[in-house]
């Protein structure tokens, strides 16, 4: 566990040593703010909740999380530092976990910086802060899910652009899997797949959290989802590290 934290600490330091951190956080906050206030009609609704905020957050993550993960492994492979990292006395699992935790902590920092929204609704009305808290937990889990996907895909290539595009594409599939456009098509042709698609949809699970429901089923779903992709990540690193 110690090694995981040492790696995570180095990674997180790396975000802040480069403009990556500030650019990401600023764009995230601006985008999230613009969507919530303009498209979401935050004020026009005259309701003291953060629903417009949480409606857009998975889509903002869909676009921005792969921008964090694209460099995780692709950059190490391009620079050759992967050879240095993996010949230190650590296991590959520790390296995978450390990188993932650093990226997740970074998303958590970005998410924490949206606190003015919470203050605003609390000044303007009397929101249910429990629902807001569970919405934040859900947002963090969605970020974790997308991060695990992006991290695994980043290990496939040396090219960050490919890692980014693959990341967005695969996260998008998991985001919209339960949308009628997908499930209707699937149930007409292969009903079994439609059922699976409904169950693996990240956004569906997230919506429970935005309604204030934190269920064990959803938590297990996210834990399994992240665990699966991180396992895949470790397998891909093992197979392709030296290519």
């Amino acid at each position: 566990m110690r090694n995981v934290f040492i790696i995570a600490r180095r990674e997180l330091g790396g975000y802040f040593a480069t403009p990556v951190a500030s650019v990401f956080i600023v764009i995230f906050l601006v985008l999230q703010g613009a969507l919530t206030f303009n498209l979401g009609g935050f004020f026009d609704r005259s309701q003291a909740d953060l629903n417009p905020f949480f409606t857009f957050i998975p889509w903002v993550f869909l676009l921005l999380v792969p921008a964090i993960t694209m460099r995780l492994w692709a950059e190490e492979r391009r620079l050759g530092t992967i050879e240095l990292l993996l010949t230190l006395p650590i296991t590959q699992t520790q390296a995978v976990l450390g990188k993932f935790l650093a990226a997740w902590a970074f998303c958590a920092i970005a998410l924490l910086l949206t606190f003015p929204f919470v203050i605003t609704v609390n000044i303007l009305g009397h929101p249910d802060n429990g629902v807001i808290a569970s919405g934040y937990v859900g947002s963090l889990l969605v970020a974790g899910a997308f991060l695990s996907v992006g991290s695994a895909l980043s290990a496939l290539t040396k090219n960050q652009v490919i890692a980014f595009v693959l990341g967005v594409a695969v996260c998008f599939v998991f985001a919209v899997a339960s949308y009628p456009v997908v499930t209707d098509f699937l149930s007409r042709n292969t009903p079994v797949l439609a059922e699976i698609a409904r169950r693996i949809a990240v956004i569906d699970r997230f919506q429970d959290f935005t309604r204030g429901v934190v269920s064990l089923r959803d938590l297990i779903f996210f834990a399994t989802f992240i665990g699966f992709w991180l396992y895949l990540n470790a397998v891909i690193v093992e197979q392709r590290k030296a290519d």
Partner: protein, 247 residues
Amino acid sequence: MSADGQPVLIEITGLTKRFGSFTAVDTVSFNVARGEVLGFLGPNGAGKSTTMRMLAGFMIPSAGTASICGHDVQRDGVAARRVLGFLPEGAPTYPEMTVTGFLTFCARVRGYIGKELTQRVEHAVDLTRLGGVLLQPVETLSKGFKRRVGLAQALLHDPPVLVLDEPTDGLDPNQKHEVRTLIAQMAPQKAIVISTHILEEVDAVCSRAIIIAAGRVVADATPAELQRRHPSGKLDDVFRQLTMEAA
């Protein structure tokens, strides 16, 4: 034990690496005992780096085994890497980190904390003369300094086994001389493998040389013995003769 009673620290047996139908390293076997400095020679693409990567546990061999201080690099990788100082080809380092930051990270991963960590980093910095650039990001350093940062990382934990892939590449003549002196100083306590294609280096620091061509060991002898294999008595000519035959 080797012939002169020193323990064997590196054992490589039948090491083979195939990429598809191409065999990069073909049943390479050798041992290195403490006190030996093995020069690993060969033309570009002969399989030097591939062999060293397998020894460092970074590449998985297609066949054969390698062990460091008795730890198999595949089955017991973490223990093997703990006693290994490895300088990968090109001396990769994280460009945005400062020299201190990078070495501190490596020392932490190696399990050092507190005062000992500081001492280890300082000692490695002294050995590689990095004192003047400690707070500079690695990406702003010259090629020679970058190589020395990589070297500092490999020496940090004073490992019994050193595997250095082209440690003097990119250094100026003075720096080359310093690194060779450093290697010679450390030699009695360690088993050292260095790859190079600078043949004068072999004469200067190596107690033994292995020439590898097209993935196979074509010679394994002391530099003096190798020189006698060609009428001219020059290592260059021996090298050319052996590697051209194999290619």
